[in-house]
Amino acid sequence: MPKGPGEKRQWQFLERMLLIRRFEETVVKMATDGHFRGHYHLYIGQEGTGVPAIAALKRKDFLATTHRNHGHILARGADPGAGLAEILGRATGLNGGRGGTIHLCEPKLGFLSTSGVVGGCISLAVGGGYACAQRRDGSVTMALFGDGALEEGVSYEALNIAALWHLPVIFMCENNSAGAMGMAKGGYPSLVHASKNLLLIPKSMGIKSVRVDGVDAAAVHAATTRAISLCRSGRGPVFIEAMTPRWAGSDPLWPELATGITDLRMATGGAVPTGKHQAWFEHYDPVLRLARELANGGEESVHRLSALDEATRKRIADAADFALASPLPAPETALNHVFVQEASA
């Protein structure tokens, strides 16, 4: 592991990835404890994609995400307390409790509507790219969406438009279908597509397309950085397929904390991965993988890791306390915001 700016960045990635991990572990607990209702989706196992990809963007850029948005929102710097509060439907939540887990959104950070409609994100992002092109300020839009989006017709229309008009859009397809049982076997949906090589789809439209290991934060960052620079110079769009094996907790229809609370000591030799998820701990958990690389820096790095973990746990515990103590919205406010109110426009 090289020292210097590369290493500094790796630590920054790990900080955000761990924040997401502890956040998601808390979400499962809140769901199990009955603090919120309905289906939800966790970003565990995909932190190595969202964090470095989003880190490669600038302030002025736009993003679009999906039902699996928690990681993206946090990666971009949204407040975890407001995120958890939204998941609990509290007035202090990012969307004032109107959206819930599927719609966490932070327009201030450049997010376009967080759509729970499969295919919604990829197509809205092309609109974001259109706006960026009209602005002529070198800004870009990144769509972070699942492989399932390519089952929807609107995705083809959107890719075609982006390709025809050379729009500055980074299509970040997070393919998490590898190893998944899928809906036909009673699990959470996995890809139902005749194409076994999704890259052929954007390629057929002349869109530059690459595949990366979505568990490898450095590889994702490098690929995204290249894609963004192509887009900024009018040579977009670019399609990236980030491959992450299906995390066991997202394999059943309803999420579960299959691999338990992440034990960072597995990265430093302080704990030994065993059991049926051993391979995941050893190879596919992006947080452990990056922590392991950084821990190789020696004793000092090991200390730094455990200090980071302690600070992150505290930050999320505070966020959870804030969310749980937050009030529910006043019922009659349900009628607000159907249209823009002039005063707030």
Partner: protein
């Protein structure tokens, strides 16, 4: 008589239809959503492995395949999943299936059945809580069915799969687990025949789908105060049994229409307009509509409750209707 859940009756109807008609097949991997009833459909896959398809997430494509196959002589049952996603198939529903027979001077038919889970399911927020069938009511050529009980679900699904017309069947997500009385031998129920779910002299309440059990709960509370509600469940919106509704209003003189769709241009509005136009002379008081306000559905529980009709709001509206006029 025994009790059965709406979901189990729905599966029985599909099973019986597939057994009796080889043209029937199913395109849809989770007809009963993601809740505990979902495994009830397993026996369809087991008994008819080559006639149940787990489709891709492609609402437009799945609907189109159903429409096309029906034009070619099949009787597909196409599940569109959460009703909010049927918008992706809007063209296939409203501008293909609905118009094919008319446009060909009656030569072509499109006997496809669509199904979707509609309504405020609880925590579904704006994008998973919609009830698009009021909009579909404005697309002439589609039959629209909204059962409220296990027996009605069974009977109306059998009729839908035998109907020569395209049919949209909506099931409220919260109805799936509700058990109601069914007879030993369930049978087909003709479209366009309302069912009076409760007899009463004071006020006519018209409701479909989940609003029917909600209205029954409200009616029981009102009965304790001596108010007798007559609850009419049209069961099918297209065709609509106007006669039974107006006949009931002619006896009670008052009408409350309850529906979970938003107010403007909604199901309650259409039924109210029909009675105002054709039964005006029977009315002793203005018609009252109990619906969702014209807002999207919010996630948070107190907000969601605020916008959703429930037995208390229905009972309050009935009391209001009795005081007026």
């Amino acid at each position: 008589m025994s009790k059965q859940s709406y979901a189990a009756a729905l599966v029985d109807a599909l099973h019986d239809a597939m057994r009796s008609d080889p043209r029937v097949s199913i395109i849809g991997g989770y007809v009963l959503g993601l809740g505990p009833q979902r495994t009830l459909t397993d026996r369809l896959k087991q008994d008819f492995p080559d006639r149940v398809f787990d489709p891709p997430t492609s609402e437009a494509g799945n609907a189109a395949v159903g429409v096309g196959a029906s034009m070619a002589g099949m009787r597909p049952f196409v599940d569109l999943g959460t009703a909010s996603f049927s918008y992706l198939a809007w063209s296939q529903l409203t501008n293909e299936a609905a118009v094919a027979h008319y446009m060909t001077n009656g030569r072509l038919t499109a006997p496809v059945t669509f199904h979707m889970l509609h309504g405020v399911r609880g925590g579904g927020a704006a994008q998973h809580s919609q009830s698009p069938h009021a909009m579909l009511w404005n697309a002439p050529g589609l039959e629209i069915v909204a059962p409220s009980t296990a027996a009605d679900a069974y009977g109306l699904i059998r009729t839908a799969l035998a109907s020569p017309n395209p049919t949209m069947l909506v099931s409220h997500a919260k109805l799936l687990g509700i058990e109601t009385e069914v007879s030993e031998k369930k049978s087909a129920i003709p479209f366009g025949v309302a069912d009076i779910k409760r007899r009463g002299r004071d006020v006519t309440v018209v409701a479909t789908s989940l609003m029917v059990p909600y209205c029954l709960t409200a009616a029981e509370a009102l009965a304790k105060d001596g108010i007798e509600v007559e609850l009419v469940d049209p069961r099918t919106l297209v065709p609509l049994d106007e006669k039974t509704i107006i006949e009931s209003v002619s006896r009670t003189g008052r009408l409350v229409v309850v529906d979970e769709c938003p107010l403007r241009g909604g199901i309650a509005s259409e039924i109210a307009a029909t009675v105002a136009e054709r039964g005006f002379k029977h009315l002793k008081a203005p018609i009252v509509r109990v619906t969702r306000p014209d807002t999207p559905v919010p996630f948070s529980l107190p907000l969601e409750n605020f916008v959703t009709p429930d037995p208390e709001k229905i009972a309050a509206a009935v009391r209001g209707a009795l005081k007026a006029g």
